[in-house]
């Protein structure tokens, strides 16, 4: 059973649909017990960091998330909220990854929207993904490179496209929206 964390950020339905297409059972929940009992947890999200963190704290979800021992995947805003701090709304985040989230400088179009490849990748979740494969991104803020970075994407600057620390994984791209390549990554996650 995969628990998808319910909070005030979008894209939850897309993740649910993707899991359903892969034949994985999922529930969308904000109940700490259900989340801690699940085999895997997905923390999706499209939205604004300070509102999302405020909501998570109001539900004590920040504490629940840090207790999880099972494979945990944050997507897009989910990854950013797992970092230390976000420039978006000057928000203190969960601090799982030792990285700051910054806004792209306006040297190119912002948001970074569309398909982009990884210049470097490693780790179980990115197994079978090569540098020519493209993944779908849509974001105006990015997590800087850090010790936990396992996938690098280049747009204006090189940034953390994928991060991992112990059982916590994060992807800035949307595997649920990245056609076959994304499916492979979700399958890798389901096999962890």
């Amino acid at each position: 059973m995969v628990a998808i964390i319910k909070y005030n950020a979008g894209n939850i339905t897309s993740v649910q649909n993707a899991l359903q297409r892969l034949g994985a059972e999922s529930i969308v929940t904000d109940d700490p017990r259900a989340i801690l009992n699940a085999d895997r947890v997905i923390f999706p999200g499209v939205g604004e960091a300070s509102n999302a963190m405020r909501y998570l704290r109001s539900k004590n979800m920040d504490i629940t998330i840090k207790k999880i021992k099972k494979p945990f995947l944050g997507i897009c805003l989910g990854l950013q909220l797992m970092c230390k701090h976000s420039e978006e709304g000057n928000t203190a985040c969960l601090g799982i990854f030792d990285a700051k989230v910054k806004r792209f400088s306006p040297d190119l179009k912002v948001p970074h929207m569309g398909w982009n490849n990884l210049s470097e990748s490693k780790g179980k979740i990115l197994k079978g993904i090569n540098t020519e494969d493209n993944l779908y991104y849509v974001h105006s803020y990015y997590a800087e490179l850090c010790q936990s970075t396992i996938g690098i994407c280049d747009y204006i600057v090189p940034f953390s496209a994928a991060i991992q620390k112990e059982n916590y994984y994060g992807t800035q791209f949307h595997p649920e929206k990245s056609a076959k390549v994304g499916i492979k990554i979700l399958q890798n996650f389901l096999k962890l």
Partner: protein, 252 residues
């Protein structure tokens, strides 16, 4: 490197796909879900569904279609047509839409752009702009291209970006349905003016039109309908061609 996006647009009327020629003469093009799945296998980078009857007939929801599409495809899609309230936007987001596109409602109430961006994030708001040259000046039209407004296209697009939209979908009414190529002048002007992605629409008639667009403008994607729907140009061939022209493109 970020790839240029190829985006088939499915115009929807009464739940069916239609194509528009200068926004008027309509021809049935089939079932939107089937067509959408076909385009995903062909390598479309994104899909846009526009309910062209919604604004005109005051139909206010694309919910059922959005749900059906979201269940079946695994690339991003935008829905638009008759969206005018935050409530509708929220419903579409929960239905699984990745972005919503607003047009006439944003002209009538520009603050809607700020409200959607604030509530759901900029990336969720696409503002569609229909433009036409009136006395050598690019001017905005509303109501599916029927009503002339007093908005200058450049200043309207700048305002859209300032208000927090994530993307502009720029349709040239002059070029739309002609198959004589994109409106390069207008698209270049707008795409170099604003710092958000601009998707070009209207006039695609052959593969060279797409390479011209990407060589001479800063648009980050190209949207087309009839040229794909009637299979005059296949997406894999188009992408191969663009790739050979050194345009960054996602090939499967």
């Amino acid at each position: 490197m970020l790839k240029k996006r190829i985006i088939p647009c499915l115009d929807i009327d009464k739940g069916r796909t239609v194509k528009g020629v200068n926004f008027r003469a309509l021809k049935d093009m089939g079932d939107p879900t089937e067509l959408a799945k076909y385009y995903v296998t062909q390598g479309a980078d994104e899909l846009v569904f526009l309910d062209i009857s919604a604004t005109l007939e005051n139909r206010t929801t694309l919910l059922n279609l959005a749900k059906k599409i979201a269940e079946q495809i695994d690339i991003p899609f935008t829905v638009g047509g008759g969206i005018s309230s935050l409530h509708q936007v929220e419903d579409l987001l929960s239905a699984g839409a990745d972005k919503i596109s607003i047009n006439s409602a944003a002209i009538k109430n520009p603050n809607l752009i700020n409200e959607i961006a604030k509530s759901f994030g900029s990336q969720f708001v696409v503002v569609a702009v229909d433009t036409k040259c009136i006395q050598d000046k690019a001017t905005v039209f509303s109501q599916g291209g029927r009503s002339l407004t007093d908005l200058d296209t450049s200043s309207w697009c700048q305002e859209i970006a300032q208000r927090g939209a994530g993307e502009i979908l720029l349709t040239s009414i002059d070029a739309d349905g002609t198959r004589k190529g994109f409106d390069i002048n207008t698209i270049q002007k707008i795409s170099s003016l604003v710092n958000i992605p601009v998707i070009a629409s209207g006039g695609a008639g052959n593969k060279e039109h797409f390479s011209t667009l990407f060589h001479f403008t800063e648009s980050t994607g190209a949207l087309a309908a009839s040229i794909f729907h009637d299979q005059q140009l296949s997406i894999p061939l188009l992408k191969q061609f663009l790739n050979n022209q050194n345009i960054p493109i996602r090939c499967q």
